[in-house]
């Protein structure tokens, strides 16, 4: 005879074990069905407000990933009303090097603070068409010259360790577009 006797009186009376199992399965399903992103170790962002496109704008520089070695970088500009004016993304390591994994606390915050501080200028400071290298702009000469001549608001953000992408604001269309890429220009934040 077993020393301990089951307190379950009948085989179909499990004192709620099955119900408990059901609840646990339901819990697992509920969590797995959730489509909202889970928090990751390298989900970090810096938001900064600035003047662009004739009004208040908000820059958000962020990294998203399970770790900083495998994170993606996302740069977004929104208008004061929340409309997305510009977005840019790349694998973090491919664009900005592999310096974040070793000491993400130190490097990542410094990087995001700097990244969220783009250079503000106007399109006349962009080089003349003749001075561009092949592939530096995706615009044709007519459009490039026109945008440059109209001296529109321009913002340049890092898109690589030594490269910046310059975005112009087109007030007629109410949108932003990429003007050209350039070697990074260090300016005081």
């Amino acid at each position: 005879m077993p020393r301990y006797r089951s307190r379950v009186a009948r085989a179909d009376h499990d004192r709620g074990v099955r119900a408990l199992r059901f609840l646990l399965i339901a819990l697992a399903l509920a969590v797995s069905a959730c489509t909202q992103p889970a928090g990751h170790a390298c989900d970090v962002n810096v938001v900064r407000e600035l003047e662009f496109a004739g009004g208040e704008a908000r820059v958000r520089a962020e990294t998203i990933g399970p770790n900083c070695h495998q994170a993606v970088a996302l740069f977004t500009i929104r208008s004061g009303e929340g409309d997305v004016l510009w977005s840019w993304t790349a694998p973090l390591q491919r664009a900005f090097g592999d310096v974040f994994e070793a000491d993400p606390d130190e490097h990542l915050q410094t990087f995001l603070d700097r990244w969220a501080t783009p250079d503000i200028a106007t399109t006349q400071s962009a080089p003349e068409w003749a001075a561009l290298f092949p592939g530096q702009t995706t615009l044709d000469q007519l459009t490039y010259d026109d945008v440059r001549a109209r001296d529109l608001p321009m913002l340049c953000h890092y898109s690589g360790t030594s490269r910046q992408t310059c975005v112009f604001w087109e007030p007629i269309a109410g949108g932003a577009g990429q003007l050209y890429d350039r070697e990074a220009v260090e300016t005081e934040p």
């Binding site: 992103p37 928090g39 994170a71």
Partner: protein, 187 residues
């Protein structure tokens, strides 16, 4: 015990909305993942389509392809509105529900693998790929020789929506082993 489990379930579901302080207050933080055998037939890559914004109508949406080890291969960002309707958000835009966003993200992430050999031929003597194609307008960053080499190798290719009427197709460059866009096409 049941009450405890139910409480845990409620907390777990509530935690779905928490990512960081800014996103939790953002209002639209949605994500869908989809496995696809693109870079390897042994271990699936993972496509993540994600939305972030103060509302779903104002969301930035990102498309990220990662290999089976989690390394990001390709990223793309746009807006929900540009991908679903095209262009800039009008002042009288319709609100977008979480369910609508989830449907969109699931559809966006649901890429299928095809072959670069299925792309149109860039015939010799024709100046551009799009002049050589008979259906859509095609654009490629490669010269004819490289494009035809990549096409002839029947590389595994995935294509995703890059605008309401534009698609971009990716292959793994056999020389660099890095993902590269082989064509963008649209009407």
């Amino acid at each position: 015990m049941r009450l405890f489990i139910l409480g845990l379930a409620a907390l777990a579901l509530a935690a779905c909305g928490e990512r960081d302080a800014e996103t939790a207050s953002a209002g639209c933080a949605r994500e869908v993942t989809q496995e696809v055998n693109w870079t390897s037939t042994q271990a699936p890559d993972v496509i993540t389509a994600r939305a972030d914004g103060p509302t779903c109508a104002l969301a930035v949406v990102t498309f990220v392809a990662r290999d089976s080890a989690g390394n990001p291969l390709w990223t793309f960002a746009s807006t929900y509105y540009d991908l679903s309707a095209g262009g800039l958000l009008p002042e009288d835009y319709e609100p977008v529900s979480d369910e609508q966003m989830d449907t969109f993200l699931a559809s966006w992430a649901d890429v299928t693998v095809s072959s670069s050999g299925e792309l149109p031929e860039w015939r010799e003597g024709v100046a551009t790929l799009t002049e050589s194609a008979t259906t859509f307008t095609y654009d490629t960053p490669f010269d004819r020789e490289t494009y035809e080499m990549l096409r002839a190798r029947n590389l595994a290719m995935i294509c995703y929506a890059a605008a309401v009427e534009a698609t971009q197709c990716l292959v793994i460059d056999p020389a660099s082993r890095a993902p590269t866009m082989i064509v963008a096409y649209g009407p």
